[in-house]
């Protein structure tokens, strides 16, 4: 291949995909800046390691919560804005359980069930943690999933099912209403203060080139739980009859009907799987960050939407990949910009990637 040809190909590329070119230039500039920082000692490799780890953790939470959103989108055809509050509801139910088990006999049951509303009891005082109170945490994980399943089935039965055949916009607006109702109900019951939920978890320090990266027990718990659940969903979708039927329905609803796939059963399974993952994601999010407030899920929802859209809406692998990209971006952006803008950075990256690949990372792959 001659130089002229290379040049003309490059030209062709620049004309056809100008955004890709601009993106490449920006990436080069950012990397250059980073290398300069590393060379001058302004930035340490260990700092980057810490941010990557932090971003990975965030990404796992977003990805795990994004699977349910993506599933309901591809199978039920609507963007469910109440998804964020299923996260919070799962978290509160799970943490009420954890508080109850960890603090039974040491504090007022009412205060425990309200997850220490109004500063009545603190998770740190109860010594809550994966290693210190494992039973309480595991029970909390299970309850968070179960409660979110029950909640999403109940909301579906009473609110979404009767309007299943309306268009996506009607469902979307309805779901916003559900989101507000749930959120303010939770605020009413649990109060609006943000409480600390865990004691400082033990951590290991990994020596990393020029410093240390701390990895604590809750990071590991999140990593294990999220990976296991993602793997479980993958196996379910690829290997089981139900999973294949779910993918079939996401692909082509009319044909699914003709082949005798029971669409209502698939819809129920979608809520059960999506709801369960969402509730657990909510619990793990709180375990990892160590604080809980009634707005947590709603605030996370914007990042989840970004992840799901980035991944190619409707694709669960896209949701996971998108979650990791968004999480890593939000964390690593502090290398270049003030941390107050990290969420904005995540959205900028989403928009930029969508300009290059408008249908998302895993476009047209439905739930596959």
């Amino acid at each position: 291949m001659g130089i002229a040809e290379t040049y003309s190909r490059g030209r062709q590329f620049a004309i056809e995909r100008p955004f890709a070119l601009v993106l490449a230039v920006i990436v080069v500039i950012l990397l250059g800046d980073l290398l300069r920082g590393l060379a001058t000692g302004q930035t340490q490799f260990a700092d980057i390691g810490t941010l990557v780890w932090d971003g990975l953790m965030r990404g796992l939470v977003i990805g795990l919560a994004g699977i349910g959103l993506s599933m309901t989108y591809s199978i039920l055809n609507f963007a469910n804005f109440s998804h964020g509050d299923y996260i919070t509801a799962g978290a509160f139910s799970g943490w009420a359980t954890t508080y109850l088990i960890a603090g039974l006999g040491r504090a007022d049951i009412g205060a425990l069930l309200l997850v220490g509303a109004g500063g009545s009891v603190y998770g740190g005082t109860l010594g809550i943690g994966m290693l210190s109170t494992p039973l309480a945490v595991v029970a909390g994980i299970v309850v968070s999933g179960a409660f979110a399943i029950a909640l999403s089935l109940a909301v579906d039965r009473t609110i979404f099912k009767p309007i299943r055949n309306e268009d996506g916009i009607t469902l979307l607006i309805t779901s916003i209403g559900v989101a507000f109702a749930l959120r303010y109900l939770m605020q009413f019951v649990f109060g609006s203060d943000v409480r600390g939920t865990t004691a400082q978890p033990p951590s290991v320090s990994l020596y990393f080139i020029d410093g240390t990266v701390f990895i604590n027990a809750h990071d590991i718990t999140l990593l294990v739980v999220a990976s296991a659940l993602m793997l479980g969903v993958h196996v379910l979708l690829q290997r089981t009859k139900l999973g294949k039927a779910m993918r079939a329905m996401a692909d082509n609803k009319d044909l699914a009907l003709i082949t005798g796939i029971s669409t209502e059963r698939v819809v129920r399974a979608t809520w059960i799987i999506g709801g369960g993952l969402t509730g657990v994601a909510g619990y793990m999010f709180i375990l990892w960050k160590g604080t809980l407030g009634f707005n947590d899920g709603w605030l996370l929802l914007l990042l989840i939407f970004a992840a799901v859209i980035l991944g190619g809406i409707g694709s669960i692998y896209g949701a996971i990949a998108g979650g990791l990209v968004i999480g890593l971006t939000a964390s690593m952006s502090v290398l270049w910009i003030p941390s107050a803008f990290s969420r904005a950075a995540a959205f900028v990256v989403m928009i930029v990637i969508l300009l290059v690949k408008p249908s998302g990372l895993f476009s047209g792959r439905a739930t596959a």
Partner: protein
Amino acid sequence: MSVDANTDATSGAGVEGRDDVLLRVRDLDAGYGDLQILTDVDMDVFDGEYVTIVGPNGAGKSTTMKSVFGLTAHMGGTVQFKDEDITGRRPEDIIHVGIGYVPQNDNIFPTLTVEENLEMGAYILDEVPQDAMEAVYERFPILRERKDQKAGTMSGGQQQMLAMGRALMLEPDLLLLDEPSAGLAPDLVKEMFDKIDEINEAGTAILMVEQNAKEALRRCDRGYVLANGQNRYMDTGTALLEDEQVRQDFLGG
């Protein structure tokens, strides 16, 4: 068989006097929502028979098939299958009685693999019927070659074969095919018709809609001409091909 060669729009076009009837449609009125498309449609398919429906665009050919499969609004008349009244039943019931249906468009699951598409064809069974799958692979060897490929990445002809294979997974007595040759290159059209002949010779009755009307009528046992949601003509394929009026009005001379 005493059948009027050219039945006009007002008289019934059913075949009486044979006792091995598989599908019997009588005075069927059907449509979408409140919109009526079919008026008094009569149609029969006998055991192992190969029947073609031809007619202009929008004649109601696809609507007739959808109505048999319970996918339209039923407005009158009856549909019988093997002495069972299936009028107005839902598709998930009809799939159990022994009718397979290959729709005109979007008849595969594009992101599922070829094999998964076939598995979905037998969704209502507890186990995937390995012998039926084997039979489909024997009939369409290309599907075996491509079994782990995503169905949406195959060519139009291969997708059409997959759609047929999917519908054959429950070994139906009657296969409804809506324009199986649509969009195929000429040599593939012939291959497709040959496959359909083979399926029919193996004992499956066929009710097929075709734009490729002359070829379809040459190969089938009997044909119906529909226009405007009504029966126009019914006769053996050869007789329809030779009929001056049918040729002029519906077969382009």
